[in-house]
């Protein structure tokens, strides 16, 4: 039998991966595992081999393990050409070439885009550049912040109480560093988990000695004559002396390099189908460009086929594996990426996990355990079905609730369980903030049904 195009691709093809982090690496490993023998190029703008981000706001800030020591374990040798420290600056879809910032161009037969997200910077650039003002997304950010915490700052201000901000505050307290957390919403984590759980998170902060200020915005950061940050000013007219500020206001998708390429990429990410194939701006699916990880937005059958963007470690791995599989498969052998969202965080000694999409929930029921004991399971309901669940130190039940989500089981759960307490007898309003008010790091964003990103104006590339 004659070789198919697919056999040819597997034997001699050129696959390029842009974004050499979690999704990029796992995708590349899967390609080799599936028998891809052709050339593989890994393009990453950071100078480091792939490393793991979750420890940056956890162990690395506590001096247990360093930010430098977070290299991702390798599943196998990927025999790739590494182009590290150089950004991809453009894409020519017709000619199938990736343009690099150093002027080089790399041709491909298949492209995997896994450029992730970056920390949203402090809106006032001059203030953001003051010495002592940090964001936390990269290894360099982690090293710099850890070093500053080692030096024993007088007071740290964390702006934004999403997961990352809360973890940073927790690390500060564990190290005995004074910390203030400022959050625009009424409680930490409300964007991701709603007000009922946010109230528990707020108590955790306060019990652990965090000076938590909610319903407030930081209006300005003030530097001293040497350019070091010395104070912050709040919307209620008060101010605070602080020598370290961590801006933790969520993330922005790394899609700027695709502007003008014709790919369906914008501020909300790159739209792809359930098979991880990218859409172009006309809403037509491409056949040679695949997307995975934090930068992707893809439709999910369990959540009404809305496009979901997930900033979840497990999603990056799973989506990259699916993308790699599909790249090397005939159309009938392709698999959909139907990973049920799952997220974890650890803060103030509590392990928090969630499955599904809590932020779609309108109601929540504490089905097991008790909030006062900080050990419970909360189940989210949307239109009479189970849509998500969260556990505080109770993760062993998560698998069950994941099955409930997958089975679109009715809400409120009509059955008794072990460890049902008086507070778990009936659902409460989940109390999510108005979705039109942006919150910091909901970690799951629903973005409607259109593969095109309406908020994007497609400006022609500058070259």
């Amino acid at each position: 039998m004659a070789d198919t195009a697919l056999d040819h691709l597997k034997a001699n093809g050129r696959i390029v991966v842009v974004g050499a982090s979690l999704a990029g690496l796992r995708g590349a490993e899967t390609l080799r595992e599936k028998g891809f023998k052709g050339s593989l190029t890994m393009i990453g703008d950071e100078p480091y081999e792939p490393y793991d981000r979750p420890p940056l706001s956890k162990q690395a800030l506590l001096g247990m393990g360093t930010a430098e020591g977070t290299a991702l374990p390798r599943r196998r040798d990927i025999d790739a050409e590494w182009r590290l420290g150089v950004a991809a600056s453009g894409l020519d879809m017709a000619a199938r070439r990736v343009k690099l910032a150093d002027g080089d161009e790399v041709p491909y037969d298949r492209l995997l885009i896994a450029t992730g997200v970056r920390a949203r910077p402090w809106p006032n650039q001059a203030e953001g550049e003051l010495d002592g003002v940090f964001v936390l997304r990269t290894r360099d950010d982690g090293v710099a912040l850890a070093r500053r915490l080692d030096a024993g700052p007088r007071r740290v201000l964390v702006i934004g109480a999403g997961f990352t901000g809360s973890e940073i505050a927790s690390a500060c307290r564990e190290r005995g560093v004074e910390v203030t957390v400022a959050e625009r919403a009424d409680a930490p984590l409300v964007g991701a988990l709603g007000g009922v759980i946010g109230a528990v998170a707020a108590e955790l902060h306060r019990e652990n000695g965090v000076d938590l200020r909610t319903g407030i915005m930081v209006t300005a950061l003030e530097g001293d004559s040497t350019g070091r940050v010395r104070a912050a000013h709040f919307s209620d007219g008060t101010s605070l002396e602080c020598d370290v500020v961590v801006v933790s206001l969520g993330a922005q998708r790394n899609t700027d390099w695709l502007a003008g390429s014709g790919l369906g990429a914008g501020p909300r990410g790159i739209a792809c189908d359930a098979g991880c194939r990218a859409f172009d701006i006309r809403g037509i699916v491409t056949d040679d460009i695949f997307v995975a990880g934090d930068v992707a937005r893809s439709p999910h059958p369990l959540f009404g086929y809305q496009f979901l963007s997930l900033e979840h470690w497990g999603n990056a791995v799973s989506q990259a594996e699916t993308a790699a599989h599909n790249m090397l498969s005939e159309s009938t052998d392709r698999r959909p990426h139907i990973w049920v969202p799952a997220f974890w965080s650890s803060q103030f000694g509590v392990s928090i996990k969630s499955v599904g999409v809590p932020s779609m929930g309108t109601e929540i029921m504490i089905t097991q355990g008790s909030r006062a004991e900080r050990r419970f399971t909360g189940v989210y309901g949307y239109q009479g079905r189970v849509i998500g669940a969260v556990t505080f130190d109770n993760s062993r039940w998560l698998q069950f609730y994941q099955q409930q989500i997958e089975a679109t089981a009715p809400f409120p759960p009509p059955f008794p369980t072990v460890d049902r307490r008086p507070e778990g007898q009936k659902p409460l309003p989940a109390d999510f903030p108005d979705p039109s008010v942006p919150t910091h790091g909901p970690t799951v964003t629903l973005s409607g049904y259109s593969p095109a990103d309406r908020r994007l104006t497609f400006t022609p590339a500058g070259h």
Partner: protein
């Protein structure tokens, strides 16, 4: 489905090889006959039920008259101790297990088990040194039985001089789980009852003593508590100590004995283990899949009507989860009836799963790894004297009553 398959499983004549019966059972993944228990035999159903918060381990949730031929087989209630956490649901289960874990495992005591390595090794070495005539060894009586009790004594901090008495009680209690059809049931009941009372009295005294003079052992640390949470009451502590003793005894005996039996039936693997002691780690996992010491869990009941594989199991029904059958489910494991320590994907059910998953797992693993490595290393050319060996009655905690072997000699340690 063949009628009477449950009585076949319980029938002693099938003890040596129940696996064909399990294969038969799996054709009806949720089996129910008359007023008997609901029997679950496939991997995925068992696994998800063990994570299902609608399932209770508490006897009081069983509907009156829920038929279970195993009911009462391991009746610890007679001792008037409160139920141990094995038979409790959250939050009580969690509270007691958490407190018990503090002096045992991470995060508070990450080194407890590892620190026992040296003592384990010395114990194993001593037992092998004393095997006597290499041509007539009974690995059950001479090795596997004494070993775990010595470990539990050490863990709990039972003084050396009391250990002999402790062994007697432990053996009596283990035997009570194994009805001997020949013996007078009244007589047995009395022996068991006496052993339980004496053990209880002994432990109560020891706890009293440790409260005053705490040492590094687990009993001391449980008795004084950790300040956080509450401290265990004396009654709770007694139940817990008895649980550790019972849960970690017969099970470990069976794991070691099943292990040697399986190795002697698979001489290639035996040789590989002798050459590569590190093989012991995956080998013990494969053993827990292939010949699990706890064949089934008879202690679960649903708090509501639940649906499993299209069958509604009514609230309060008695259920059996056949771990040993799930472990041989071809929908989960390739070539399930092959013993293969090199198996890559080995998420077995041998230690349970979910909130009641084996508390002593790290210790059990270490015990079995060490015992099998040392036996393999030191016994010269070991052979089975009889195959299959005679089994104990018990269908739940299944294992050989004797494992007679012969060998050319015992290498010095």
């Amino acid at each position: 489905m063949k009628q009477g398959i449950l009585s076949d499983i319980l029938d002693y004549s099938n003890r040596a090889n129940p696996y064909p019966l399990y294969a038969e059972l799996r054709k009806t993944p949720v089996f129910h006959d008359g007023d008997g228990p609901y029997v679950i035999s496939t991997y995925h159903h068992i696994q998800s039920l063990l994570h299902d918060p609608r399932l209770s381990s508490e006897a009081r949730n069983l509907a009156a008259g829920a038929g279970d031929p195993l009911a009462g087989a391991e009746d610890e209630g007679a001792s008037a101790l409160p139920p141990s956490f094995l038979k409790l649901d959250p939050p009580e289960h969690d509270r007691l297990r958490r407190m018990t874990n503090r002096p045992f495992g991470p995060p508070d005591s990450p080194h407890r088990v590892d620190d026992m390595r040296g003592f384990l090794h010395t114990t194993v070495t001593g037992l092998i040194d004393n095997l006597g005539d290499p041509e007539r060894i009974d690995l059950v009586d001479q090795f596997a039985y004494p070993f775990p009790v010595t470990m539990i004594c050490r863990l709990l901090g039972v003084p050396r001089e009391d250990e002999a008495r402790f062994h007697v009680w432990a053996d009596t209690l283990a035997a009570s789980l194994d009805p001997d059809p020949g013996a007078d049931p009244k007589e047995r009941e009395k022996t068991t009852h006496d052993a339980r009372m004496e053990l209880g009295m002994y432990l109560a005294g020891l706890i009293e003593e440790r409260r005053k003079n705490p040492g590094e052992d687990m009993l001391s640390q449980l008795a004084v508590g950790h300040g956080q949470d509450e401290t265990m009451s004396t009654m709770e502590l007694l139940s817990t100590a008895a649980l550790l003793l019972i849960a970690g005894h017969e099970t470990t005996v069976n794991l070691i004995t099943n292990g040697m039996l399986t190795l002697l039936r698979n001489p290639d693997v035996l040789r590989q283990l002798r050459e590569t002691p590190a093989l012991a780690v995956p080998l013990v996992e494969e053993l827990l899949r292939f010949e699990p010491p706890v064949q089934l869990l008879p202690q679960r009941t649903p708090l509501a009507d639940i649906e499993v594989g299209g069958v509604t199991i009514p609230k309060g029904s008695s259920m059996w989860l056949i771990l040993a059958s799930g472990n041989r489910d071809p929908d989960r494991f390739e070539n399930p009836d092959r013993f293969d320590p090199y198996r890559k994907d080995i998420q077995h059910l041998g230690l349970g799963s979910g909130i009641h998953s084996c508390f002593g797992a790290p210790l059990a693993r270490l015990e079995a790894q060490l015992a099998l490595t040392e036996l393999t290393r030191r016994l010269e050319n070991p052979r089975l004297v009889e195959d299959p060996p005679p089994y104990r009655q018990n269908a739940v905690l299944r294992g050989p009553r004797h494992l007679r072997i012969t060998c050319d000699g015992v290498r010095p340690s």
